[in-house]
């Protein structure tokens, strides 16, 4: 089906040049400046000494590892709760689906500070969880939930859950419902249908949602600092501390580059896993 005039529907690529120039000047150039500054050593000479300082320091490596691990935990919680929600919403009628979308959109568009603030109210010493625990007589005094990692994972999962649910709903809505009927007619139960039909077909949404959730969770500076408090340090807080409080720009720059590379590596790993799983599902 060759179109008579295919050029009528496409516009000149040069229309993108204003934005491309803007990105070159204010996105690529700053990142290049970051890279350049990260190569300046404490003695003023250029080299990899800032990187060596970070990678040779157990504390710094611990912060980096802890940040990536935190991101994985939050992504796992979002996936575990978000996938069932997306599944229910996709198969439900339009009213339920609309309500779920509204329930997902409202937190997505509410300020991160407000959502984090809500968790302070929930997890604090006089908060909801402690109120329930003490009224049930389960605890003697208030339990420390704020400034603890469990509370942080829960708060980050709530803040980032919409980023997981929306791409999943898109992917699940694309699955032809007759495939489910066919699977059932062929004798497969719900679990088997889920594992062999639904899950493989929803992989693109699952990967997209996981990447977005992971990226947002590890760079969620506000939630990390308010819920995690001073005891728990993650990469964004560490970079901010070095850059603003200590004014150690070259080290902060090197940390940022290492952080960027680590994030890209994890995202590429997610995508590779997705491709691998898809290949496996097709055999």
């Amino acid at each position: 089906m060759a179109r008579a005039q295919p050029d009528v529907t496409a516009y000149d690529l040069r229309l993108a040049s204003p934005l491309a120039l803007f990105f070159a000047a204010f996105f690529a150039a700053p990142l290049a400046a970051l890279l350049a500054l990260s190569l300046r050593g404490a003695d003023g000479r250029y080299g990899l000494s800032q990187y060596a300082a970070f990678l040779g320091d157990r504390f710094s490596l611990g912060v980096l590892g802890g940040t990536l691990w935190l991101g994985l935990k939050v992504t796992a919680v979002c996936l575990g709760l978000g996938y069932p929600l997306a599944l229910v919403a996709t198969r439900a009628g339009s009213l339920v689906r609309g309500l779920v979308i509204l329930a997902v959109l409202t937190p997505l568009l509410t300020s991160v500070v407000i959502r984090t603030f809500a968790w302070i109210v929930i997890l604090g010493r006089q908060g909801v969880v402690n109120g329930v625990l003490s009224s049930l007589g389960l605890t003697d005094g208030p339990v420390r939930l704020l400034y603890a990692e469990g509370g942080l994972v829960a708060a980050l999962a709530q803040v980032q859950m919409p980023l997981m649910v929306l791409p999943l709903m898109t992917a699940l809505a694309r699955i032809d419902p007759s495939l489910w009927d066919a699977s059932e007619a062929l004798g497969a139960g719900r679990w088997r249908t889920f594992l062999r039909v639904t899950l493989p077909l929803s992989l693109p949404g699952l990967i997209a949602g996981s990447v977005l959730t992971f990226a947002a969770a590890i760079s969620g500076f506000i939630t990390q600092s308010l819920i995690g408090g001073g005891q728990m340090l993650f990469m964004p807080g560490y970079i901010y501390q070095q850059a603003i409080a200590l004014q150690n720009w070259p080290f902060a720059a090197a940390m940022s580059v290492i952080f960027l590379v680590a994030v890209l590596a994890v995202i590429l790993a997610f995508n590779a896993l997705g491709r691998l799983a898809r290949g496996y599902a097709q055999t």
């Binding site: 400046a33 709760l81 509410t110 959502r115």
Partner: protein
């Protein structure tokens, strides 16, 4: 062939899915609801449930000039950043959406990349870059930084609207003798307007709520609302912030409802 699955298979699967979905809904909605309730407390603390109800913290909010100042700055930056992002983003979307060329795909990925790169690293690099250039931080530098972070929303939504456009309409318009500019103005733009509007709306919210870029590019003269709220919360747990949250939550829900009517926002995001 596998054996025919029984009722247990069905019950365990449907039950577990429903249970987890309900847990997800509670997790999504409860925090917002709790903040709304606490904002009406008559006490001095964030106790839940509140000891009594009053509007005193909404009254305090009227007096909080620091928050008013930060709100004004945030709205101003969000307005200009959205304007810039929509103009540049729609032009770029027109260029890359239907182009089969590799360059178009690469540009598309470039314009979307601020979504997944840690924004804090970008914020820091912007601060270093502007100080290298000798530009002091100002509303202008904030608008530039925010535009980079906001553009992906405009590009993504406009490209999505453009790919759903029937090529027949454009070909028909051309074969009837309309110029490309006329077709753009009378056919393309009206049809993709909902996509542009929802992209612009998401861009505005992304700027209004931005922290990682504002953190580095603002100073006392250009205080931004999310940063002000964060610093207030770091210092002391202020109930005024709960009242402000209440106002912002209600405003957000109202704007979402409006955008849903104007653009069918929820259908564009799913």
């Amino acid at each position: 062939m596998s054996r025919s699955p029984g009722a247990l298979d069905r019950l365990s699967f449907e039950g577990l899915v429903l249970l987890l979905a309900l847990a997800a809904l509670v997790l999504l909605l409860a925090p917002t609801a709790i903040v709304l309730v606490v904002s009406f407390t008559d006490g001095l603390s964030l106790r839940f449930p509140p000891p009594g109800y009053s509007l005193r913290w909404y009254g305090e909010l009227m007096e909080a000039w620091q928050l008013h100042f930060a709100l004004g700055n945030s709205l101003r930056v969000a307005f200009f950043a959205t304007l810039l992002a929509v103009v540049l983003g729609v032009l770029a979307a027109l260029a890359v959406a239907r182009s089969p060329r590799l360059a178009a795909r690469l540009l598309d990925s470039l314009f979307l990349s601020p979504l997944i790169l840690p924004a804090l690293a970008f914020g820091l690099s912007s601060l270093m870059y502007f100080s290298l250039l000798g530009w002091p931080v100002s509303v202008a530098t904030l608008v530039i930084g925010h535009t980079i972070v906001c553009v992906p929303y405009v590009v993504r939504n406009t490209v999505a609207a453009l790919t759903q456009l029937q090529p027949v309409l454009l070909e028909g318009s051309a074969s009837l003798g309309a110029s490309r500019l006329y077709t753009l103005r009378r056919i393309t733009l009206p049809l993709i307007r909902p996509g542009i509007l929802s992209g612009g709306f998401l861009a505005f919210m992304a700027s209004f709520d931005n922290i990682p870029v504002s953190l580095f590019l603002r100073d006392a003269a250009t205080d931004m609302l999310p940063i002000r709220m964060w610093q207030d919360l770091e210092g002391r747990l202020d109930v005024t912030i709960a009242a402000l949250s209440g106002v912002l939550i209600v405003a957000t829900i109202a704007v979402i409802a409006l955008m849903e009517r104007l653009t069918g926002l929820s259908k564009r995001l799913v």
